[in-house]
């Protein structure tokens, strides 16, 4: 059983201030769940910048090199054919396919990496801690471990309410939420 404490906020500006406030009280925020992307939240939580785009660049570069070298190999070494009197290595004609192959691979592998990194796949049933956090409420999540004392829990609740939470609730889950 996993045990969480959830503080619900109804406005993202209150939420952003609350994150600062909670951090100033030296409480460890496990996660923040929001119905949409709140800009600036990742910096406040101290999350490392996503490197998906870096990966996408290298996959794209590899795909571009693969496409050009494959077409070059086919038309100069493996099965040379003269098309309309053009040279075997007719680079300008290779550009469209190289471009498309680059875009396809960069997009596909970035999307794939996104799904894998976030553990998202069809059939991954996951329950939200509170169904309203995918609709209109913003949730700050604390993890409750066997080492969390009743006094800690009480302090967490107080800090959440002082920070402007509209509701604080505990939640037991079979698996990670």
């Amino acid at each position: 059983m996993k045990h969480y404490l959830l503080g619900l906020f109804d406005d993202e500006e209150v939420l952003l201030k609350a994150v600062d406030y909670i951090k100033s009280h030296h409480l460890r925020i496990h996660d923040v769940v929001t119905p949409f992307a709140v800009h600036g939240l990742d910096q406040k939580l101290g999350l490392r910048e996503s490197r998906l785009h870096v990966g996408g660049f290298w996959v794209g570069a590899a795909a571009a090199i693969t496409a050009v070298s494959f077409m070059t190999w086919v038309f100069t070494a493996n099965w040379p054919i003269i098309f309309g009197g053009k040279p075997y290595f007719s680079f300008p004609a290779f550009i469209p396919i190289t471009f498309e192959f680059t875009v396809l691979n960069a997009s596909f592998w970035m999307t794939f990496a996104f799904l894998v990194l976030c553990h998202l796949w069809p059939g991954r049933f996951r329950e939200s801690l509170d169904p309203r956090t995918t609709s209109h409420l913003f949730g700050v999540v604390f993890k409750i471990t066997p080492r969390t004392t009743e006094a800690d829990l009480q302090r967490m609740r107080e800090v959440l309410l002082q920070a402007g939470a509209v509701e604080v609730k505990e939640r037991m889950m079979e698996k990670h939420y």
Partner: protein, 473 residues
């Protein structure tokens, strides 16, 4: 969040908060389908099934059942292909290019436009695939090691480029659309009351819960996909235009084709988005999210791209005259004055003359006029492709080859079937999935909501003299 002036017209009308947005948009998904939905679905599905029957007919008897002949080898098939691909350009333009340009009105229409793109590309792909004749050999297009040499496809051929362009465009649009849809499907999953809906949307939403880290990656992915989809969307119709422009057929062998085709694609794509959205906003009661300002923005893009298309037509005529090439000149004279004159003048009326009416603000903001025009433009853009393809080839260099072309019932039914497929897919989408990107609309609520703007304005008024707030307008 990017600040926005509070005197700019709001993009979300009414007194909305986040919960209200969720409820307004989920209502269509959660309610039982209406009688009119069932009627529309039944009609579209029946036409689609007729189309499938005709595809079977084509496979069984061969493309000899079509009206093509030795001179006119491309007729309705490729006309329909280019028409559908053009329609498929608006979705990615709205979601990618307008995202990069920070056009917030995009959020009201992007989801439905992307869905429309995907369905249009599927419809488009049917035509060249079945035009191959022996469709079971379609895999010959793919570069795979084979026992014929190995003999590879011709990577120097624009038709081969098209295979890559269309399949890439379809795949990237699908990924872009679906990753954007995941958070909204999770919203529906969490609201679901019935067991089947919990399971169904649970599978579709991939287990999304909206963690901060996931949103950060989601934003990063969307931005990069938008960045690389922008040149992609331009490349696709450029490559489609290469199918013609790299040939030596007078009327096709034109350097202006790539930009002219891209502008035409966006023109027709926005027309189809308007056709669908004017109905959808009314039927699903979403006028607060797809406002008259959204419609006006799209009409402005229509008048811009329509003017580019008109300019391109005139440039083609000028260059034909200026080239002093008799074959080129004849090709254009034949378009306007030859046996297919009616298609040329329909195209001119629908694409060049009528969109100019959108310079009038009143007409741009009139929903019924917009709907009427969106149909006219789609008809016009269909004629454009027909004119380019059929009138250019039906009279070639050797007069003894001259011929006429008219479609058979098989081609007409195939086209109707593709329309049936498109509307069936859109109806199913509009019933099962949120037609508006909820998470994105919520993201802009604080800056672009009507009520939020009013409050900002009041807050400023309390601190400053009124004249400083309203400015001099």
């Amino acid at each position: 969040m990017h600040p926005e002036s509070y005197i700019r017209p709001p993009l979300i009308h009414g007194h909305k908060d986040y919960l209200q947005i969720t409820e307004d948009i989920c209502r269509a998904v959660e309610a039982r389908p209406s009688r009119s939905w069932w009627i529309a679905f039944a009609v579209s599905a029946a036409v689609m099934l007729w189309g499938f029957f005709v595809i079977g007919w084509t496979i069984w008897f061969g493309i000899g059942t079509w009206g093509l002949n030795r001179t006119v080898g491309w007729g309705w098939d490729i006309t329909n292909f280019v028409w559908w691909i053009g329609i498929g350009h608006a979705g990615t333009l709205i979601s990618a290019i307008l995202l990069l340009f920070r056009q917030k009105w995009r959020t009201g229409v992007n989801r439905a436009a992307e869905a429309m793109t995907i369905f249009a590309v599927i419809c488009a792909a049917l035509f060249p695939v079945f035009h191959m004749g022996r469709v079971w050999m379609a895999f010959y297009n793919l570069p795979y090691p084979n026992t014929r040499g190995p003999l590879w496809p011709n990577f120097n051929s624009p038709l081969m480029w098209d295979v890559f362009a269309i399949s890439t465009y379809f795949s990237v649009s699908l990924m872009f659309w679906y990753t954007g849809l995941i958070p909204d499907l999770a919203t529906i999953r969490d609201r679901a009351k019935k067991q089947w809906a919990k399971v169904f949307y649970g599978i579709l939403s991939f287990g999304w819960v909206g963690s901060a880290k996931h949103w950060q990656r989601h934003e990063s992915l969307s931005l990069v996909l938008a960045g690389i989809s922008t040149p992609l969307v331009l490349s696709v119709h450029t490559i489609v235009s290469f199918d013609f422009a790299t040939s030596v057929v007078p009327g096709w062998h034109t350097t202006i084709f790539p930009p002219y085709f891209v502008a035409g694609a966006i023109f027709s794509g926005f027309a189809m988005v308007l056709t669908l959205m004017v109905i959808t906003r009314k039927v699903l009661n979403l006028q607060d999210y797809i406002t008259i300002d959204h419609i006006e923005s799209m009409n402005k893009i229509i008048v811009l791209t329509g003017s580019i298309v008109g300019m391109a037509y005139l440039t083609e005529l000028f260059v034909a005259w200026y080239s002093q090439n008799p074959y080129e000149q004849y090709a254009f004279a034949n378009r306007a004055l030859g046996p297919y004159w009616w298609s040329y003048w329909s195209m001119m009326m629908c694409n060049v003359i009528s969109p100019q009416l959108f310079w009038v603000r009143r007409l741009r903001r009139n929903v019924w006029f917009t709907f009427f025009m969106s149909i006219i433009i789609n008809v016009g853009m269909w004629f454009e492709r027909f004119v380019i393809i059929v009138t250019s080839v039906h009279r070639d260099y050797v007069p003894s080859n001259w011929s006429m072309y008219s479609p058979t019932w098989v081609e007409i039914s195939f086209f109707l079937g593709s329309l049936g497929l498109f509307f069936t897919a859109f109806l199913v989408f509009a019933k099962l999935m949120p037609v508006i990107a909820m998470a994105e609309v919520k993201h802009i609520l604080k800056t672009s909501g009507e009520e939020q703007k009013r409050r900002q304005l009041e807050a400023v008024r309390h601190h400053q003299p009124a004249a400083a707030v309203t400015g001099s307008h």
